[in-house]
Symmetry: C2
Subunit: 383 residues, 2 copies
């Protein structure tokens, strides 16, 4: 009997196996022999023989087939407790209640830790580290099953957040599915044509000036690379919760558009084309600024990377030669000063022999590190 | 006479001074004594006396006052060549033509390297490193002035991209201003209330389940932290180019919303509320998938971080103890194997004694590095 049986060796299933490696005994299964082979080769666990029991069964397959796979494995009677990792909980919970032969042993869950990549090759042992992982008991779930699923989440490095399936689905509609929609819509405009009043559409602009994009576009469209088939399913299953927030986002943009039309008319049209819009320019400027300030306020609610740690750490910048061994001696200095480097960022200046390295260290260690680096002759970037 | 006079010591102006430090003689001026003092303290240059001439004058003030400041400094006759860094070029170019006493010496430019932070404290010597920097000659600009501005861009580490002012403004509307708008709209919904059909609006959902957000929301809303006053100006000045693309983005979302309404009705309404929508569920699923695939195609056009370097480098993951000195010995091993580490990413597992470090190295060095690390007893993450 294994500790954990993972059914479905995609990004999430394989990452569960990697996260538990060396800590728990994990068996793996996938309907695709190639996918299973990759997960096994990565060391995520050992192959399941189709009968060996497990204390915990993790069903990590696409949401539309989750309840069916769960019911099937329950009929084999191999698990004590069952969880799944579906991105949409209410729909799957209703299906489980209908199909499962023992819904009391099932507690749905969902790690908020996806990547824009997919499959076992993209899996990481630290995918769940410090990330929220929703745990959604149904009315049938026993307290023992909930405790077991919370323990699994913690063993994988995640932070259990216990909510109802409906609360989960409302939250992810706004906090996960809507960002996906916004990123896809924005990226989609780069290829859309014929929707603009400029020559050649947006695609023409994008092709002529592809070089003119900064880091903002890259960040804002990162999610647009996500698996289209998987996300079609997710958006479909959560359509009742997602539709109103998509509509609200469109409404925000249409309000802004109305203000921009007033300002465009106010600026005058260089080509001499008459624009007929109503409204007052000062009021339109106020609307644009209010829109941006709401964005400021909303952004302040978004948990920053590294969570609560961010205030406790700060960067120290060092100018270094781009040569083998320089990083080693930089870290040797930090280590000798008893400073623990929490994170590192390297910025290279293309075509130049030097780069800037930022060491993220505890704020209480900054003065000690700067003194030690300066004493060893490092060139520091000013605060 | 200095090489470069920077007027306006915000993020961009101070970063120009820092980028040129040790290479060119830079004088600085700002209408705010506090801002100037910060830029001077950071080592971005020396204070301008109000009269000393400069080979190049960089006007780095907000776009709405750029042409006025440029005309004023031209009347002092201190510069040979003039540039500015306005985010919107056409409007400023028209103002310069009207106000300047020598428009032939002026070439507008714009580094695509903003951050969501602002002011001289946020400035970085490597802000422009490898980033595109638009150079927009007017019909009046002399070839010598264009050459001088291109040389400035390159001295700052940027990549000059020569386009007309109109081409620039169309490109940034789509590639820079629209991402800003999307991020602000998305973040704004987290605080908007009363626009949803759920209890307490989106703000209520966000507050109850604030823990349930992943890295996607953080990336997609990063730009929403931008300076609202500065961006109000930018959106206002580029309203003629921006309005149609904001409308196109809203239209994409409304099309998706229509498909989601069909799917929500198809899924049935748990609360028993009747929904009246037309359309076929299979067709709606096709529309959702086509929307996501357009996003995939658009994302593929977005230049990835590190540009053309990305294919030449790959990560090697190592499990390390979270203790002072461990990074140093890791880099010592890499240095001894003559492997140049291009970038470093540290992922900590909160509450655990170990972390995973990814070393980005040239693909030709991967085997050598893995062998050397394994020989020194490091625990490697599988490929």
């Amino acid at each position: 009997m294994s500790d954990v049986l993972v059914l479905g060796c995609g990004l999430i299933g394989t990452s569960v196996g990697l996260a538990l490696r060396g800590v728990q005994d994990v068996t793996l299964h996938d309907s695709s022999p190639e996918v299973l082979a990759t997960a096994l080769a990565r060391g995520a666990g050992r192959a399941w023989d189709g009968a060996e029991p497990a204390a915990m069964v993790v069903v990590a397959v696409p949401p539309s087939v989750t309840a069916g796979v769960l019911a099937e494995v329950q009929r084999l009677g191999v698990g004590q407790t069952y969880t799944h990792v579906a991105s949409v909980q209410s729909h799957v919970q209703a299906e489980v209640e209908a199909l499962s032969c023992n819904a009391s042993a099932v507690v749905g869950s969902h790690p908020l830790a996806g990547r824009e990549t997919s499959g076992p090759s993209a899996a990481r042992a630290d995918l769940f580290a410090g990330r929220p992982w929703a745990v959604c008991p149904s009315g049938s779930s026993t307290p023992a099953a909930v405790t077991a699923v919370r323990a699994l989440v913690e063993a994988c490095g995640g932070v259990p957040v216990e909510v109802t399936a409906a609360e989960h689905d409302g939250a992810v509609a706004l906090l996960s599915h809507l960002p996906q929609v916004a990123a896809s819509a924005l990226a989609g405009l780069l290829v859309a044509s014929g929707t603009s009043d400029t020559d050649g559409g947006h695609a023409g602009i994008a092709a002529r000036t592809a070089g003119l994009s900064g880091p903002g576009l890259a960040d804002t469209t990162r999610l647009a690379a996500s698996d289209a088939a998987l996300w079609t399913e997710i958006l479909r299953l959560n359509a009742p919760q997602l539709a109103p927030v998509v509509q609200a986002l469109a409404a925000e943009l249409l309000d802004l558009h109305a203000a921009l039309e007033v300002l465009a008319a106010d600026a005058g049209d260089a080509a001499g084309t008459a624009r007929r819009v109503g409204g007052d320019a000062a009021q339109a400027v106020g609307a644009v600024e209010a829109f941006l300030r709401r964005g400021n306020a909303g952004r302040a609610l978004v948990p920053v990377k590294r969570g609560g740690l961010s205030d406790a750490f700060a960067p120290v910048g060092v100018v270094v030669d781009d040569a083998p061994g320089r990083l080693a001696s930089l870290f040797a200095t930090a280590g000798a000063a008893q400073v623990n480097v929490e994170d590192v960022r390297v910025e290279h200046l293309p075509g130049r022999p030097t780069g800037v390295i930022e060491l993220l260290v505890g704020t209480d260690a900054i003065a000690r590190l700067r003194t030690a680096l300066a004493a060893d002759g490092w060139r520091l970037v000013e605060d």
